[in-house]
Symmetry: C2
Subunit: 574 residues, 2 copies
Amino acid sequence: MNKLEKYFPARVWLKSYSRNDLKTDAVASFIATILLIPQSMGYAMLAGLPAVTGLYASILPAIAYSLFGSSRTLAVGPAAITSMMTATIALPFALPESQDYAMVAILLALLSGMFLMLMGLFKMGFLSNLLSHPVISGFISASAILIALGQFKHLLGIEAHGNNFLELTQSMIRNLHQTNLPTVILSLVSITFLLLLKKYLTTLLIALKLPLNLCQLFGKAGPVLVVATTTSCVAIFSLDELGIRIVGNVSESLPKLNLTGIDFDTVTALLPGAFLISIVGFVSSVSVAQSFAAKRKEDLNPNQELVGLGMANLTAALSFSFPVTGGFSRSVINVSAGSRTPMAGILTGLLMLLTLLFLTPLFYYLPTAVLASSITVAILQLIDVKDAIRLYRFSKQEAISLAVTFFVVLFIGMEAGIVVGVALSLLFFLWHTSHPHIAVVGRLPGTENFRNVKRFDVETNPEIVTIRIDENLFFANARVLEDYVLTLVSQHREMKHLVLMCNAVNLIDASALDSLETIDDRLKSAGVILHFSEIKGPVMDKLTDSSLIKNLRGKVFLTQHQAMKALTKQQTDE
Amino acid sequence: MNKLEKYFPARVWLKSYSRNDLKTDAVASFIATILLIPQSMGYAMLAGLPAVTGLYASILPAIAYSLFGSSRTLAVGPAAITSMMTATIALPFALPESQDYAMVAILLALLSGMFLMLMGLFKMGFLSNLLSHPVISGFISASAILIALGQFKHLLGIEAHGNNFLELTQSMIRNLHQTNLPTVILSLVSITFLLLLKKYLTTLLIALKLPLNLCQLFGKAGPVLVVATTTSCVAIFSLDELGIRIVGNVSESLPKLNLTGIDFDTVTALLPGAFLISIVGFVSSVSVAQSFAAKRKEDLNPNQELVGLGMANLTAALSFSFPVTGGFSRSVINVSAGSRTPMAGILTGLLMLLTLLFLTPLFYYLPTAVLASSITVAILQLIDVKDAIRLYRFSKQEAISLAVTFFVVLFIGMEAGIVVGVALSLLFFLWHTSHPHIAVVGRLPGTENFRNVKRFDVETNPEIVTIRIDENLFFANARVLEDYVLTLVSQHREMKHLVLMCNAVNLIDASALDSLETIDDRLKSAGVILHFSEIKGPVMDKLTDSSLIKNLRGKVFLTQHQAMKALTKQQTDE
């Protein structure tokens, strides 16, 4: 891979791109565009922005990712989780659908694009690993509830704003009197049809004897059908006059660049939120990309993914929209439509542009309640109770992390939830490693195997004691070993030699080295000689020059068997 | 150990306490009290409080720790690090030596006592492990510089306040014109004598043919001699009239309980600082206690230590003083004076009480510049440049943690320094574990040993690939394994079986389990069967009921050798 390919991965697939590929990709992108239009508009609304900005966010970002991303199938654009995060983070700064609010959303896209690029350039992608399974699971379930709740106002046709469960419900209850009956009816009808189509459309198409792959693809066309039908109904019967809200005139709702509302303080205040959007967006995007790459036995480069997503968000800011990421449903549509290369993403972007330029009048009568219905139906399946139960059975501690994240996100806020969840995960992990499994071992008679004295009937020697440490030695447990050895010495008063068996130690850091030196010192004053056995190669490389090994009175043995042979011999010689 | 002994460890040594023990402890405590008086007063001044509060902090806390702590030799009272932290944390809330300031110090003692008790009751002592070697080293060196700098105003006889290096130096330069020449001369003389006595007093005593242990003990009497001499000089020649500040009338400087200045907001604002004092105090205290316990082959119970230090701080608050902890120099004095049991600590406390009641007139003419000199001389030896150099050679990353902690403490503040240092340590550790060593292994010909294909000339099989993971599998590296396997599959297109060899895996958490299921799913769609070998007992116990093992198409082999034998046989059979 040469340097250009490294920074511009599109070169790889462009080299062998054929006219035949183009044909397939063109058809795929045409189908995908139709299916993605209502989704993109829905997510824009979810983000608290005019529905049409969803189309903006589907043009340049899709093209930028196709050029700079490393996945061949991932489709990038507005996604549920990033839109929801945009809404909750932007809310304290401006009223939704105001010009200031649009500017905040643009800023969030700009900042998270910058974070992603920086993480990519400095290869900091591993930061996303901080989001453990329980934190992600709790976060997504709670967010799904908040998203669904946030759509409820559209389903009823009322106003409501809030950052968490209580604020949202209170605001909704206060405004319940605004409820518009025609909107409620329309919502109920839409939801019913969406659920029915979701369940039976594929089966129906199969019964119609269409090819299986087309059935699976058009099985996802439920929202398109419902949107088309309801929009036509509203247009024909002028239902908007009954108080049903519609998308309306697109050009009127375009965000205008208004830099006066933006100051340095706002930017600083947005930084943590933008960072969280980047991290969460990156994690969800990479997991989607990985699942598709695996199916095709393709490779994926997480740091290049950061650059790809970073460029997508920077261009999202340039097109006056909001943060985007690689979406699951988006990518499924892309793949089932038959896309072969990232060219499909580029073509989808271009078709979205044409839609925006020429087809927006078609969406004039599209009712927002219908978009909200489709989001609600899609989002509720993200609530994963089974996972919580499974986790509870597997590990009580991790179940606590999930529960705490869930409730903090729901009742306090998304940012607090993630921070608290990550802190808890780290704390539990540190708790685990700071209670390492340490075993006194003895020789299985007649073998070279050394096993835990508590589990096996082994030979021991009161003067030569061996302990095996089943954990990395680093700052979180370094002092635990000191305590352990201290107790051990007070219990084995005949001890003359102590051997530390290090076959499961993959890391010794400076704190642990410090503790080992302290242990050696203390053993010295207690008249015990410290030895090591089975230190791994890479660990030994680091230790060789340390004062621990230089000042060690004991020896470093390659194997535990050699250690016991040498020390027992020495004992008999004395 | 019965329940009462568990909560009241003094019972153990009290049971066998003899008249002879009492005699030895009484002599030891008498000597220790004399040596500790100037030290305690100096640390009180360091905390920004009237020197006499140092005596208060040496009575009840010493007695409380002796009754509730688990170490037999640790001496608890005012210590350099906790006094310094008290000063910087209290400064933003009130002016030093004011009544409000004294109340803040009392509150800090109360809160950190509560934190220590809570950590003890909930066995949260492992939290202190977060302070890694580089963070402690950087923190102590920077604090020592700040402490010495803070004493400089006393040495010059000027006013100066500040939380960090810049604030302190600026404030000092502004007030430099107040410099009092007699004070400067006194400081220089004191420092010179302190340094000379420190270096030559023991030698001198040895030359006088005193018993060696007495020489070592009285070799530490330098500060006492200098304090006695200078106090006498000031009294005789009325040097205080030249502008040299003296301790003055003790009863005038007693803190009075003034609850009006304290509100809920102040308490909340003090919580993080109090928590840091608890943690840092606990860490330094335990490391001192451990080093003495090891020499005597005694055991130490960290959770009981939390209770002991907690009680010491609660009683410090009750006696209107400031946070205390187990001090190194204090304990050395205690041990060299010949103390046998914690009774010596109780007696020292009582003697301090007598000193406070009857001997304070002796300290009337004690110059604060002399106390400041003794603190400066004692503290500067804590700056450890050698350690920084050694650390830099051992690990660049950890050297960065040290440097960042050092500079943040020096130029921003102690709390920020610790928080940033801990965060960096965690980040580097996570970086390390999220880049685990994973090796493709093959069989050493003719053996049952499987080794890295890159290091050894081993037998491999293109259809059966084995990888060995040299790290715990948890959230920080779970997805790394996904990436690794993805790349592996794209590189080994003939692969039909993948064996994960888990002999160095001590932990698999829910995130890792999740990743392993994802890996199994992806391998399934790539036509590869996943197997495991050499999973450790405790890890397997947790996995048995998981859906990963239930849905696994491959097998879990006890040893890697069995895995290869079975899979190769299956391959030949086909």
